[in-house]
C-alpha cells in the first residue's frame, strides 16, 4: 500500500525519507515540487498527484508536507488518514510536530515509522501500544540515556497488541486515580452582511484524560443525549450500548484521547454568541479605504466572551492600515495581507471598536469584494448546545476516582461576510 514517505518542509527541503518496500528514488518528489510551485499557496496543493509510475498522496500539516508514494490502487482516504495519524503521533511524542523536532528525534521517528507500518500496511497506530514499544523522549530520560547508555526502546514487548482491547496498555497503575472530560464545542457559522446566520452548526468533541489503574470499565451518560445529531466514537466505545441506551460505555485507553465527536446540525437553532457591526469601504479615488468594526455580545447565556480575535484577509492592494482600537491590539502584516485584532475579554458595557483608514496601492483599481472577517472566541464553562454530562460510573475497579467535567465553547470556522 504505502510504499515510501518523504517529509518536505514548506521551504522545499526534503529532510526525511523512509521506505517500507524497495527504495524509490527521491527524484519522484520532483512531480510534487512542480505541483507545489503551481499551487502558489501550500493549501492549494492537490492532495493526490499522478506521476507516470506512481501516485503521490500528500498532506500539509504544521508547515510540513507528508508525501507518500503509492504504486497501486488504494482508497486515498486510507493513506490520508494514516498520514494524519503519523503527524498526531509525532505531536504526541515530541509535543509539537515541526521540522526541528523531527530532525532532533530522527531515530525515534524512524523507529516509530518502522512500527507503524509493515510492508505499507498499518501495524500499530494506537498511541498506547507505540508508547510501550518506544518510550517518548523526556529531558530526564535523554540525560539518563546518555549517562547509562540505556535506550528508548521498551525492554518488555507490548502485550496490548495481542489483547482484545488493543488501545489500552496492560498493568496501568496510578496512586491517584483521575478521569477528566473536556466537552469542547465549536460553532461553525457564516453570517451575512446584515448579521443574520446564513449557516450555523455546532461541532463538539469530548476529550478525555483518564488516568485510572487496572482495567476500569466506564459509563458516561448525558442529561440530554437526544441533542446529539451525529456522533463518531473512539474504537473503545461500544456502539450497541449507545444505540440502545444512549450511554457511552467503554474501557478507556490510558492517558489523553478523544472519546467522541458529535455534530449538531443547522436544523437546530444555534445560538450565535457574538455580533459584529462592520463597515469596510474602499474609495474609488485617492487609493484609500475605511474600516470600522465593533464587536458585541449576543446570546452568551450570561457568560463572558474571552480570547476574542478578529482576523481579516485584506485584498492584495491594501498596503497598510492606520487604525485605532479602543481595546486590545491590532497588527497588519503587509506581506500576507492579514489584519489581526486581538481583543481579549469582551466587556459588555464598553464594546470594543477598531476604526481607521486603509491605504491602497496607488493606481490599482479598488477591490471588488470586501474582505470577510474570521472570528475567534472562547467561552468557559459553557457548552453552547446545552449538552450536559450527567454522570460517570466506574465498574470493574474498586477505587473511587476523582472525576471532572469541563465545558468550553469556541468559535470554529466562524466567518462574517461583508
Amino acid at each position: 500500500m504505502i510504499h515510501s514517505l518523504f517529509l518536505i518542509s514548506n521551504a522545499g527541503d526534503l529532510f526525511l525519507e523512509k521506505h517500507w518496500k524497495s527504495v524509490i528514488s527521491r527524484s519522484v518528489c520532483d512531480y510534487f515540487f512542480e505541483a507545489r510551485e503551481k499551487a502558489v499557496e501550500p493549501d492549494n496543493v492537490p492532495p493526490v498527484i499522478r506521476t507516470p509510475h506512481h501516485y503521490l498522496i500528500n498532506i500539509y500539516r504544521e508547515k510540513i508536507f507528508f508525501v507518500s508514494v503509492i504504486q497501486t490502487e488504494v482508497p486515498p482516504l486510507f493513506v490520508i488518514e494514516f498520514l494524519h495519524r503519523v503527524a498526531e503521533t509525532f505531536q504526541d511524542y515530541f509535543g509539537e510536530c515541526s521540522e526541528t523536532t523531527i530532525k532532533d528525534n530522527v531515530v525515534i521517528v524512524y523507529e516509530l515509522l518502522e512500527e507503524m507500518l509493515d510492508n505499507g500496511f498499518p501495524l500499530a497506530t494506537e498511541s498506547n501500544i507505540l508508547k510501550e514499544l518506544i518510550r517518548p523522549p523526556t529531558i530526564l530520560r535523554s540525560m539518563v540515556n546518555t549517562i547509562t547508555g540505556s535506550s528508548n526502546v521498551g525492554e518488555t514487548l507490548p502485550t496490548g497488541q495481542l489483547s482484545t482491547i488493543p488501545w489500552r496498555r496492560a498493568g496501568v497503575k496510578y496512586t491517584s486515580n483521575e478521569a477528566y472530560f473536556d466537552v469542547v464545542e465549536e460553532i461553525d457559522a457564516i453570517l451575512d452582511k446584515s448579521g443574520t446566520a446564513v449557516f450555523a452548526e455546532i461541532q463538539g468533541v469530548i476529550d478525555a484524560c483518564v488516568k485510572l489503574s487496572g482495567m476500569p470499565d466506564l459509563t458516561l451518560s448525558f442529561m440530554n443525549p437526544r441533542l446529539l445529531d451525529d456522533v463518531s466514537f473512539h474504537p473503545c466505545v461500544r456502539y450497541k450500548r449507545w444505540e440502545s441506551e444512549r450511554v457511552i460505555s467503554f474501557i478507556p485507553p490510558d492517558g489523553n484521547f478523544q472519546l467522541m465527536s458529535y455534530h449538531i446540525s443547522a436544523q437546530n437553532l444555534v445560538a450565535i454568541p457574538v455580533y459584529v457591526k462592520q463597515n469596510i469601504s474602499f474609495f474609488e479615488t485617492g487609493s484609500s479605504g475605511r474600516l470600522d468594526i465593533t464587536v458585541g455580545p449576543k446570546q452568551t447565556m450570561g457568560k463572558t466572551l474571552e480570547c476574542l480575535v478578529v482576523t481579516v484577509h485584506m485584498p492584495k492592494v491594501v498596503l497598510s492600515a492606520n487604525l485605532s482600537a479602543t481595546q486590545g491590539t491590532y497588527n497588519y502584516d503587509p506581506v500576507t495581507k492579514i489584519l489581526v485584532w486581538d481583543i481579549g475579554k469582551l466587556n459588555p458595557q464598553k464594546l470594543p471598536n477598531l476604526k481607521g483608514s486603509l491605504s491602497l496601492q496607488s493606481g490599482a483599481p479598488k477591490p471588488e469584494e470586501n474582505p470577510s472577517l474570521n472570528i475567534d472566541l472562547k467561552i468557559q464553562q459553557l457548552a453552547i448546545s446545552g449538552l450536559k454530562v450527567n454522570r460517570l460510573d466506574v465498574y470493574g475497579e474498586k477505587y473511587k476516582p476523582f472525576k471532572g467535567v469541563k465545558y468550553v465553547t469556541k468559535a470554529g470556522k466562524f466567518q462574517v461576510r461583508t
Partner: protein, 978 residues
C-alpha cells in the same frame, strides 16, 4: 576531499560498531539511521552492521533490522549471513520474537532466500499465536512481490489464513488476498459470514480493506436490490424486482438474500467510526449495495467528514459530487454545509461549487444563486470563473432562471477583472445558443465589448457568436471583421480560426460588404505559421469561393456553414465518474489506476447461495454423536468478545459476590435463519437476559448439579473437550451454561479457557483429531511414604490442553492415605524450572482415604526435560512442601492431525527433506498385522493414523505442540524373514 571526509566518517562509525561497548554501537547505529533518513548512502558499513544482528540490546537490534532491510537488496551476499539468526528466532517460544523475526526475514528482498521465506510463512500461518499469523499474512505480500512464481503456494496459505477466526488476522489476510489473488472469489464464500460478523472488532485499517473486498464480492453474488425504475443502472431492466418491503403485485417480489442483509447490517455501526477511511468505505458499500431508500443513512456521516482535514474534505467532496449527480435528494437538506468559506483552499471551493450546482433545483435555485453571487465577487479569480461556469450550468438546467442568469452574466461583462469577463462571455455564448433570436441586443453589447477583451477564448467566442448570428447583427458583424483583419497576424490561433470562420459566414450572407475583407483574411491565413490555420483557410476558400475545381461542394457551402447547431449541454465534470467504485484512487483521479479492480454488475440470477454455508466436516467417530445434543439454542459466537471482557472486568471487582454469574460459550455455524442473525444485533445486556431464561430451560443434565466450577471443570474436563470438538466437527449448536457459585478466580479460569478455546478451536476444527489411543497407565508422581500420606499419580490425557495452546494436558489423581484430612493442597507459586505450568486450583480439603482428580497443563517447550514443582499440603496446621517432577515421553508432546492420504503425501512433499529422521522398530513376525503396529506406535506417541492404500506404509501425521508445524511419520513395514 568530500569523498575523503565521508570515508573518514565511515571509518569512525565502523570503529564504533566494532567496539565492545553497547553504548558506542548504539550511538553508531543511531547516526547511521540518521544518514539513512536523510537519504545518504551508508551501505559500505554493511558488514560491520550485520555483525550486530544478534545483539541482546533490543534498540540496537531494531536499528540493525532497519539498516538490514534498507540495504539487503544491494548487499545480497552479506545479507545472507544474517538469515540464520532469524531462522533461529522463528522458533523462539516468545510469539513477539517469532513475529518480528518473520517480519524482518520477509522484508529482506533477496531472491535466493525465497524457499526459506516460503517455509517460514507456511509455518507461521499455522502458529498458535494470532499475532504471528498476522505477520505471516503481511509476509505473503512481500514474498509475492519478490517472486510472483510462488503465487500458487501463497494462495494455499491465504486460503488457510482466511479461515482464521482471529480479528487480528482478518484485515491482513484480506489485504494479502486483494494483492495476490483478488479474482479467487471462491475462497471467500466459506468465510463471508465470518468476516461480516468479525468486522466490528477488526482494527480500523483492516476494516477498510475488508469492506472494499466485500463490496466487490457482494456485487458478484447477490441480485440487485435496486428497483427497475432506478436511473442508476442500465442493466436493471433485467431484474424485475421491487425494492424490499414494498411488495407490488409483481410475479416475483424482491427478497434480499439474508447474507446481503447481514453485510449491510454489520457495516452500519462503522459509520460512527472516528477513522474517516472507514466511514468512506462503508458509505461506498452502501452506495454500491444498499437499496436506494436506505442510502440516506450515509449522508450525515459523509457531511460530518467535511469537518476533518483539508485533504479528507477533498476526497469526500469528490465522492459527494459523484453521488449528488445521481441522487440530489440525499444531500439537499445539507446544502448549507457546502457553502464556501473565503479561507477554503481553491480545490475545495471548486468542489463545493460543483456540489451546489448539482443540488440546484427549482425550489432552491434562488438560494443557490444568491450564494453564487457572493462567490463571483471572490478575490480568488479562478474560483470566481468557476462560479460563472456554475451559474451557466444552473441556467441551462433550470429553464425558469435562464433569463435571470443571463442578465446577471451580462452585468458581469462590465466587471473590471478580465478573467471574470472572459468567462462570462464564454458562458453567455453557450447560453445564447439555446435561444439566440431573443437576445440580439446581448450580442450587440458583446460586439461593443470586443475591443476591450483580450482573453483569446472570450474573443473567439464573440467572433463565433457574430458569425453564427450575423443575421441578427447585420451592422456590427462586418465591422468586427474589419477590426480583425487589422490585428489578424498578432492574434492567438484559436482567434484566427474563428476569424476565418466569421469571414466565411459573412461572405455567404453579406458578400457585398465583406468580399474583399474575406479575401484579405484568407490570404493572410494561407501563409500562417500554423498549419491548422493554413488548412482551414484552404478548405474555406474552396468551399465558399466558387471556381471550376470546387465542384458540387460549394453549392452546399451555405448549408454546411450555417447549419443550425445544437446547443451544448453543460454538465458536471463528475458525470462519468461513477464508472469507478467510489472511494478509490481511480475515482479521485478519474482514470484507472494500477491494480484497480472493476466492480462487476449485479448478476441477473443469484449464484448458488449455499456456497456460503460452512461445510459439515465428516464425522470422526460414531460414539461422539451420542454425546452431542441437537436442537440446543444458539447465539452468535463471534461478536461476543466484548461481553466476555465485561465479565472479566467485573469479576475482579468483588470476590465475594454471591450472585450467580453465568458465562456462556455459545457457538453457531451461522445458520441462515434470519431470527438468529437479528438476535446478534441486540445488545449484550439483552442477550444476558435471554440466556438466563434459556439456561433455566435448557441446562444440561450433566451440569445441573455442579455448582463448584473447579470440580466441574476438572471432572468433566474430558467431556468438555469432546463437547467442544463436537461443536466444531458437526456444526451442531450447543451452549454451555456453567452455573458457578465458586470463587471468582475459578470464573476467570473458566473464561480464560473459553478465550483459548476460541482460538484453539480454529485449529482443532482444521487439524487436531482425537487421540487414537489414550493410555490408561498412570505414572507415580509422589509416593505416599514420601508424601506423608499424600500420594499423587499423573497420566497424559492426550487431549489438547485448554489452558494454553502449547501446553500438555495432564490428569493428576491425588489421594489421601493417611488418617487425617489434608487441607489446601496446591502447587507452590515458585517453579524451579523454566516451564510454564498451569496450576490446578487449590483443593481445600481432602478427607482421609478420599481421592480427587484434577487437571493441569504444563508447557514442556517441546523438550523432554522434566518439569519440577512443589506440591504443598497442610495437615493439622503443619504445611509441607514436596518436590516432584514430571518427565514426559516424546510421544506425549505430540498432537494428532486428521488428513487424507492425498493431503499427507502433498504436505510431505513440501517438506524439502529438512526434518526427516527415521528409526527401526523390531517386532516378532506374529505381531506384524497393521493393527498391532498401529497400537504399538500410538501407545508410545500421541499420533493419528491415516488409512493407507499401500499395504506396508502407515502414515502418521502429528504436530509438535510448540512448533505447530506438522511433521509426518511414515512407518514402513519391512518384512524381514530372518
Amino acid at each position: 576531499l568530500c569523498f575523503n571526509s565521508l570515508s573518514h566518517l565511515n571509518e569512525d562509525l565502523k570503529e564504533m560498531l566494532e567496539s565492545n561497548k553497547e553504548s558506542l554501537k548504539l550511538e553508531a547505529m543511531k547516526r547511521i539511521v540518521g544518514l539513512i533518513a536523510k537519504g545518504k548512502n551508508a551501505y559500505e558499513l554493511f558488514p560491520a552492521v550485520v555483525k550486530n544482528v544478534a545483539s541482546k540490546n533490543i534498540e540496537l537490534k531494531k536499528l540493525v533490522y532497519v539498516y538490514l532491510v534498507r540495504y539487503a537488496e544491494e548487499q545480497q551476499d552479506l545479507a545472507l549471513l544474517s538469515i540464520s539468526t532469524f531462522q533461529r528466532a522463528l522458533k523462539d517460544p516468545n510469539q513477539l520474537i517469532r513475529a518480528s523475526a518473520l517480519r524482518v526475514l520477509s522484508s529482506i528482498r533477496v531472491p535466493i532466500i525465497v524457499p526459506i521465506m516460503m517455509l517460514a510463512i507456511k509455518e507461521a500461518a499455522t502458529d498458535l499465536s494470532p499475532y504471528v499469523r498476522k505477520t505471516a499474512a503481511h509476509a505473503i505480500q512481500k514474498l509475492y512481490s519478490l517472486d510472483p512464481d510462488q503465487k500458487e503456494h501463497l494462495i494455499e496459505v491465504i486460503e488457510k489464513l482466511l479461515k482464521d477466526k482471529s480479528t487480528l488476522v482478518a484485515g491482513s489476510v484480506v489485504m494479502a488476498f486483494e494483492e495476490v489473488c483478488p479474482d479467487r472469489i471462491d475462497l471467500i464464500h466459506k468465510n463471508y459470514r465470518k468476516l461480516c460478523n468479525l468486522l466490528v472488532d477488526v482494527e480500523e485499517w483492516g476494516q477498510v480493506v475488508i469492506i472494499h473486498m466485500l463490496t466487490r464480492y457482494a456485487r458478484t453474488q447477490f441480485v440487485s436490490p435496486w428497483r427497475e425504475d432506478a436511473v442508476f443502472d442500465e442493466n436493471s431492466e433485467k431484474t424485475f424486482y421491487d425494492s424490499e418491503g414494498r411488495r407490488v403485485d409483481q410475479s416475483k417480489p424482491y427478497i434480499m438474500d439474508p447474507d446481503h442483509r447481514l453485510l449491510l447490517r454489520n457495516t452500519k455501526p462503522l459509520l460512527q467510526s472516528r477513522n474517516t477511511a472507514v466511514v468512506m468505505a462503508v458509505s461506498q458499500l452502501y452506495w454500491h449495495l444498499a437499496p436506494k431508500h436506505e442510502l440516506s443513512i450515509i449522508t450525515k456521516s459523509l457531511v460530518r467528514l467535511l469537518r476533518s482535514h483539508r485533504e479528507v474534505q477533498y476526497i469526500v467532496l469528490q465522492n459527494i459530487a459523484t453521488m449528488s449527480i445521481q441522487r440530489k435528494g440525499m444531500f439537499e437538506p445539507f446544502m448549507k454545509s457546502f457553502y464556501v468559506r473565503s479561507t477554503d483552499a481553491t480545490h475545495i471551493k471548486t468542489l463545493k461549487l460543483e456540489i451546489l450546482t448539482n443540488l440546484a433545483n427549482e425550489a432552491n435555485i434562488s438560494t443557490i444563486l444568491r450564494e453564487l453571487q457572493t462567490y463571483v465577487k471572490s478575490q480568488d479569480k479562478a474560483f470566481a470563473a468557476a462560479t460563472i461556469q456554475a451559474i451557466g450550468r444552473c441556467a441551462t438546467n433550470i429553464s425558469e432562471v435562464t433569463d435571470t442568469c443571463l442578465n446577471g452574466l451580462v452585468l458581469l461583462l462590465s466587471n473590471r477583472d478580465e478573467t471574470v469577463v472572459a468567462e462570462s462571455v464564454v458562458v453567455i455564448k453557450k447560453l445564447l445558443q439555446t435561444q439566440p433570436s431573443q437576445h440580439s441586443d446581448i450580442i450587440k453589447h458583446m460586439a461593443k465589448l470586443f475591443d476591450s477583451i483580450t482573453v483569446p477564448m472570450a474573443r473567439a467566442s464573440i467572433l463565433w457568436l457574430m458569425g453564427e448570428y450575423c443575421e441578427h447583427v447585420p451592422k456590427n458583424a462586418p465591422d468586427v471583421l474589419r477590426k480583425m483583419a487589422k490585428t489578424f497576424i498578432s492574434e492567438e490561433d484559436i482567434v484566427k480560426l474563428q476569424t476565418v470562420n466569421l469571414a466565411a459566414k459573412l461572405y455567404l450572407s453579406n458578400s457585398k460588404q465583406t468580399k474583399l475583407l474575406t479575401q484579405y483574411i484568407l490570404n493572410l491565413g494561407k501563409y500562417d505559421q500554423n498549419y491548422d490555420i493554413r488548412d482551414r483557410t484552404r478548405f474555406i476558400r474552396q468551399l465558399i469561393v466558387p471556381n471550376e475545381k470546387s465542384g458540387a461542394l460549394s453549392r452546399y457551402a451555405r448549408r454546411i456553414l450555417m447549419a443550425p447547431k445544437p446547443a451544448p449541454v453543460l454538465q458536471s465534470a463528475f458525470k462519468d465518474r461513477d464508472r469507478f467504485q467510489l472511494g478509490t484512487l481511480s475515482h479521485t483521479l478519474n482514470s484507472q489506476s494500477n491494480g484497480y479492480l472493476e466492480l462487476s454488475d449485479w448478476p441477473a440470477v443469484a449464484p448458488d447461495q449455499s456456497v456460503r454455508i460452512v461445510e459439515v466436516v465428516e464425522l470422526a467417530g460414531a460414539p461422539l454423536l451420542g454425546k452431542s445434543k441437537p436442537g440446543k439454542s444458539a447465539e452468535k459466537f463471534y461478536s461476543d468478545s466484548e461481553e466476555e471482557e465485561e465479565e472479566e472486568g467485573s469479576s475482579s471487582e468483588d470476590s465475594s459476590s454471591s450472585s450467580s454469574e453465568e458465562s456462556e460459550s455459545e457457538s453457531e455455524e451461522n445458520s441462515d435463519d434470519s431470527n438468529k442473525s437479528s438476535s446478534s444485533e441486540s445488545d449484550s445486556e439483552k442477550k444476558k437476559k435471554t440466556l438466563k431464561n434459556k439456561k433455566l430451560q435448557q441446562q444440561k443434565p450433566d451440569s445441573k448439579d455442579s455448582h463448584d466450577l473447579a470440580l466441574f471443570l476438572s471432572q468433566s474436563h474430558l467431556f468438555f473437550l469432546n463437547k467442544f470438538l463436537v461443536v466444531f466437527k458437526f456444526n451442531l449448536r450447543c451452549i454451555f451454561v456453567a452455573n458457578c457459585r465458586c470463587s471468582l478466580l475459578c470464573l476467570c479460569v473458566f473464561l480464560a479457557c473459553q478465550f483459548d478455546a476460541v482460538s484453539w478451536h480454529v485449529r482443532v476444527s482444521l487439524q487436531a483429531s482425537f487421540p487414537v489411543f489414550v493410555p490408561e497407565t498412570s505414572h507415580e508422581l509422589l509416593h505416599r511414604m514420601t508424601g506423608k500420606g499424600l500420594s499423587a499419580q499423573y497420566r497424559f490425557t492426550r487431549q489438547p490442553c485448554i489452558y494454553g495452546n502449547s501446553m500438555v494436558s495432564l490428569q493428576l489423581t491425588l489421594s489421601n492415605s493417611s488418617d487425617q484430612a489434608l487441607e489446601n493442597i496446591h502447587i507452590s507459586e515458585k517453579s524451579s524450572t523454566g516451564q510454564n505450568i498451569h496450576r490446578f486450583n487449590a483443593i481445600e480439603r481432602l478427607e482421609p482415604q478420599a481421592s480427587v482428580t484434577v487437571s493441569m497443563g504444563v508447557d514442556f517447550n517441546d523438550s523432554t526435560q522434566a518439569a519440577n514443582f512443589q506440591l504443598c499440603s497442610t495437615k493439622t496446621l503443619r504445611s509441607d512442601e514436596l518436590s516432584v517432577s514430571i518427565q514426559p515421553a516424546v510421544g506425549e508432546l505430540l498432537l494428532p492431525i486428521t488428513m487424507t492420504e492425498a493431503d499427507f503425501t502433498k504436505e510431505q512433499g513440501k517438506l524439502l527433506g529438512m526434518n526427516e529422521s527415521s528409526a527401526t522398530i523390531t517386532m516378532t513376525p506374529e505381531n506384524i498385522s497393521s493393527q498391532s503396529v498401529n497400537r504399538k506406535v500410538v501407545s508410545v506417541a500421541n499420533l493419528g493414523v491415516i488409512p493407507s492404500s499401500q499395504e506396508n506404509i502407515h502414515s502418521v501425521p502429528r504436530r509438535c505442540l510448540n512448533l505447530t508445524k506438522p511433521t509426518f511419520w511414515n512407518v514402513i513395514k519391512k518384512t524381514n524373514c530372518s
